[in-house]
């Protein structure tokens, strides 16, 4: 009995693996990598609805959201052509054109794509010149609206961004705003869409802050498809995106994404919109980030 008890018949336990993905539904999975507008969870909260919306309207295709740790991570994925679809900022879109992605839509209106300087209400600078010797928090060096455009704007205001201010890259839009709130830097630099979102999600903190300046608009974020995808799939995705504004569910989702609509766009438009800015940036700062 004792030996029997010690030698009980044990169930087989442990994972079983297979090389091919399980074809339980027959759906083909595609990933939409959104540039780190928010931290990953927040990004999922906001953009998870978009992928669900697209998946529900694509025949036998499913699109999942893929976040990134930071802009570098996002750009690395793009450079490695891992995601099938991208939602980058304009600068990242300009770079992704070189990786084999093609613009299929613009996420929102171009006028909404502008940098915003957020400061504590009790430390409002009188002018950009007052920022000399101060630290400014940016999401990332490649954040076009939240870093590159504001730095060009400050440079245009006569400030030597590299020499007279300290640039701290904190990884995300929200972190940049919170850094200003905590006083870790004099200015938290972001762009209009994250700032509106922060005011809605963090009203108490936002009440302590105030947007003192904003840059000129450029062109909004792009929706890109990898160039090896079936053209009919790309067309389906593009059609769904552009038609969102025409139906209630789509409009509700656009409101949640805090963009007015998806607009038609192509590679040429983005190359053209970015080239002048990038040239100025190189001219002022020596090299693109």
């Amino acid at each position: 009995m004792l030996l029997a008890a010690c030698a009980r018949e044990e169930p087989v336990v442990g994972p079983r693996f297979q090389v091919a993905p399980p074809a339980t539904t027959g759906e083909v999975l595609y990933r939409l990598a959104v540039h780190p507008l928010h931290n990953p969870t927040k990004l999922l909260q906001v953009y998870g609805g978009l992928t669900d919306y697209l998946s529900a309207r694509l025949n036998a295709h499913r699109i999942e959201l893929e976040a990134s740790n930071d802009y570098a991570h996002f750009e690395n994925k793009a450079a490695r052509r891992r995601p099938e679809f991208l939602l980058p900022n304009p600068y990242q879109a300009w770079r992704a054109l070189g990786y084999g992605y093609r613009v299929i839509a613009e996420a929102g209106d171009s006028a909404d794509f502008r940098g915003v300087f957020v400061v504590r209400r009790d430390r409002v600078p009188a002018a950009p010149a007052a920022l000399r010797g101060q630290a400014l928090c940016y999401p990332a060096p490649t954040a076009l609206a939240a870093a590159m455009l504001p730095q060009l704007w400050l440079a245009r205001q006569g400030l030597d961004v590299r020499g007279e201010t300290e640039s701290i890259y904190v990884g995300s839009q929200e972190s940049a705003i919170l850094s200003a709130y905590r006083g870790e830097c004099a200015v938290g630099v972001t762009w209009s869409l994250p700032w509106r979102a922060f005011q809605r999600t963090h009203p108490a903190e936002a009440a302590e802050l105030v947007a003192v300046w904003q840059t000129d608009p450029l062109i909004n974020n792009a929706v890109m498809a990898r160039d090896d995808l079936p053209s009919d799939l790309i067309a389906q995705v593009q059609g769904v995106l552009l038609a969102m504004v025409t139906e209630d569910e789509g409009r509700a989702l656009l409101q949640r994404l805090e963009i007015a609509r998806f607009n038609p766009a192509d590679d040429v438009r983005y190359r053209h919109a970015l080239q002048a800015v990038l040239d100025e940036y190189v001219a002022r700062f020596g090299a693109l980030p």
């Binding site: 009995m1 004792l2 030996l3 029997a4 008890a5 010690c6 009980r8 044990e10 169930p11 087989v12 336990v13 442990g14 994972p15 079983r16 693996f17 297979q18 090389v19 091919a20 993905p21 399980p22 339980t24 999975l29 990933r31 931290n39 990953p40 969870t41 927040k42 990004l43 999922l44 909260q45 998870g48 999942e64 959201l65 893929e66 976040a67 990134s68 740790n69 991570h73 994925k77 891992r82």
Partner: protein, 655 residues
């Protein structure tokens, strides 16, 4: 000895083996259960650790899963290794392995999570668990969406050694407990059954003859104490019965013995000792062939075997010579096979009864019966109530009654009416007092005839002195009595007249005198002398004279009252004895009748003759003298009557 006997041959072994087995089974069960429980606890802990680790991994990996940061995920899985962790893996929502402690698995798909992934509200799930591995998956949730799974496999790790140690210790403890339990069971059974063993030892000893032994009683009132006292009480009862049986056997006059199936004596009594001339101790255990000559022994053995074959009592009679005094006795032997309760033959029980005395008694009875049958005397045997139980043929011959006609009747019907109650009372009194009565008795025959018997009656008494029987032996003496009567007639009566002679007169005078003296009544004595007789005798001869005398005698007899006597003294003299006289006048009336009767003529052929009487009378007690004197006084008065002219009477004493 078989294994079964070795293990269960005795109660002590049964108890020890039983308790040890129960203890071993229970210990094995308990320890096994304990080990299993402990292993279950370890496994539960292992599963809980896996759960905790999976949750932690799911939480910590959420951002990396969302970003599919494979490098970060790889760091998580590689850094999460700890004791007992077999694998860590992070899986996307489709089942693709994003990171694994085994990098080779990255990019593969798990094939066993389809159902889990398809759940609408996934939660931490134990995919499998055994002591070696707990496989747990926790969903990676972000913004309310399952974006992936953290799957953890936790092995025994440190628990493996602990579990093995628990199992090993459990086995060792069980074995030690079984050994200790067996020893304790043996000691316990030995302690419990020690007194039973002592009872058994006593029982064996008693079975082998040590009947005085008893089980020790320590006064405890437990079951064994009760059994011991009951056992002793049973032995006491058996001993009591054995003593009774022994006393009975030894007291029996019969020879009693018991032999086993081999013919060895197991028991014998003093009566049998006489056969062998040996004491019981020298007989028991031996066979007849060791005690008797071969032919006798063979004979006895044959009868023993015959009883065994018959399956029941077998009888035989034989003469046996007693070794102690050489006497020969005739015995009837009954041999009976003896069986135990299960019907197995134990031996033969023998009882021999000495019938020598009875045999001789029977011969005597046969002889007595012959005497009884051929005896000429009648024999009547009655019981104490005088009811006839046997008569012999002579009785029938004498009385005419057949045996069947008298059996059961009292002997009173044989008595003659001649014997009154006084006679019979005297007979019974004599029998009661002296036990015997002899005498003559008149018996009434079947047809009313009477026989004079010479009878001897003896009363038989038992040892207590109580009369049990009467034996009456009688001889018919009727002829002898007739002869006696004839002789009496000759001796006491006058041959001519038949009247009492002088001898008989003397007796009757004496009797009447005594009676008169007792009764105060008068007794008259009258002496008669015939007047004129001599001339007749002389003239007509003696024959005529005799005829006159016979006629006068007859006339005198007719004149007398009952009880009176007339006797002839001789010649022509007669005497009258007048008894119970009221007075002299009563006598005078008689005498007047006598005078008248005598004076009547008598015809003698062609002659008519007449005589008269001269009577002298005396009356006692007026004449209060002796009987002889009374006769002389009457004689004197007769002469005065003669003198007075004859044919008259005179009273003695009158002028």
């Amino acid at each position: 000895m078989t294994l079964r006997d070795g293990l269960f041959g005795t109660l002590r072994r049964q108890l020890a083996v039983g308790v040890a087995l129960v203890h071993a089974v229970m210990m094995s069960f308990f320890v096994a259960d304990l080990v299993v429980r402990q292993q279950d606890v370890l496994q539960a802990r292992q599963v809980e650790e896996a759960r905790s680790l999976a949750r932690t991994l799911a939480l910590s990996s959420r951002a990396w899963v969302l970003t599919r940061d494979l490098a970060g995920l790889a760091e998580l899985t590689q850094a999460g290794g700890q004791s007992g962790v077999e694998y860590l893996m992070l899986i996307d929502a489709r089942g693709e392995v994003l990171a694994h402690t085994d990098p080779a698995r990255v990019g593969q798909y798990v094939a066993d999570m389809g159902a889990l992934i398809a759940r609408p509200e996934p939660e931490v799930a134990v995919l499998g668990a055994n002591p070696k591995l707990a496989d747990v998956a926790a969903p990676v949730v972000a913004a309310g969406r399952v974006v992936g799974w953290a799957r953890v496999g936790v092995g025994q790790g440190d628990h493996a050694g602990l579990s093995a140690a628990i199992a090993r210790d459990g086995i060792v403890y069980t074995l030690v407990a079984i050994v200790i339990g067996a020893v304790l069971a043996w000691l316990m059974s030995r302690a419990i059954t020690a007194r039973l063993h002592q009872i058994r030892t006593v029982a064996d000893a008693v079975r082998h003859g040590r009947h005085e032994l008893r089980a020790s009683d320590d006064g405890r009132n437990d079951e064994i104490g009760v059994v011991a006292r009951g056992f002793n009480a049973m032995l006491d009862a058996l001993a009591h019965e054995r003593r009774l049986l022994r006393t009975l056997v030894e007291t029996l006059p019969d020879m009693v013995w018991v032999k086993d199936t081999a013919g060895r004596y197991l028991l014998c009594n003093p009566s049998l000792e006489r056969v062998f001339g040996r004491k019981e101790a020298d007989i028991l255990g031996k066979t007849d062939h060791e005690l008797l000559p071969a032919d006798f022994a063979d004979h006895f053995r044959v009868h023993d075997l015959r009883a065994i074959e018959a399956g029941g009592p077998v009888r035989n009679e034989e003469w046996v010579t007693l070794a102690d005094d050489g006497s020969r006795v005739f015995v009837e032997t009954v041999k009976t096979p003896m069986y135990d309760a299960e019907g197995r033959l134990l031996g033969v029980v023998g009882i021999a009864r000495d019938y020598t005395a009875r045999l001789r008694s029977t011969e005597q009875l046969r002889l007595s019966a012959s005497v009884f049958a051929v005896c000429l005397e009648g024999i009547v045997i009655t019981d104490a109530d005088n009811r006839i139980i046997d008569v012999n043929p002579a009785f029938t011959r004498i009385t005419g009654f057949k045996r069947d006609e008298v059996l059961g009747r009292t002997s009173a019907f044989l008595s003659s009416a001649r014997h009154g109650a006084v006679f019979h009372a005297a007979v019974w009194q004599a029998l009661r007092e002296a036990g015997v009565w002899r005498g003559e008795m008149w018996t009434q025959g079947k047809f009313g005839e009477e026989f004079a018997q010479q009878v001897s009656i003896a009363a038989l008494r038992d040892d207590a002195g109580t009369i049990t029987h009467y034996i009456e032996v009688f001889t018919d003496i009727s002829d002898l009595k007739a002869h006696e009567a004839e002789l009496d007639e000759i001796a006491n009566h006058d041959p001519l007249t038949g009247l009492p002679n002088r001898r008989l007169l003397r007796d009757r005078l004496s009797q009447a005198y005594a009676q008169a003296a007792r009764g105060r009544s008068g007794l008259g004595v009258a002496l008669i002398d015939l007047d004129g007789f001599k001339p007749i005798n002389d003239s007509l001869g003696h024959e005529a004279g005799d005829r006159v005398l016979r006629e006068i005698a007859a006339r005198l007899s007719h004149c007398l009252r009952s009880g009176d006597t007339v006797a002839r003294l001789g010649g022509d003299e007669f005497v009258l004895l007048l008894v119970n006289l009221a007075d002299a006048d009563e006598a005078r009336q008689v005498l007047e009748r006598v005078l008248h009767a005598v004076a009547q003529p008598i015809t003698l052929g062609e002659h008519r003759v007449a005589v008269s009487a001269s009577i002298g009378l005396t009356v006692f007690p007026n004449d209060a003298v002796s009987p002889e004197v009374l006769l002389r006084h009457a004689d004197a008065a007769m002469y005065r009557a003669k003198e007075a002219g004859r044919n008259t009477w005179r009273l003695f004493g009158d002028a």
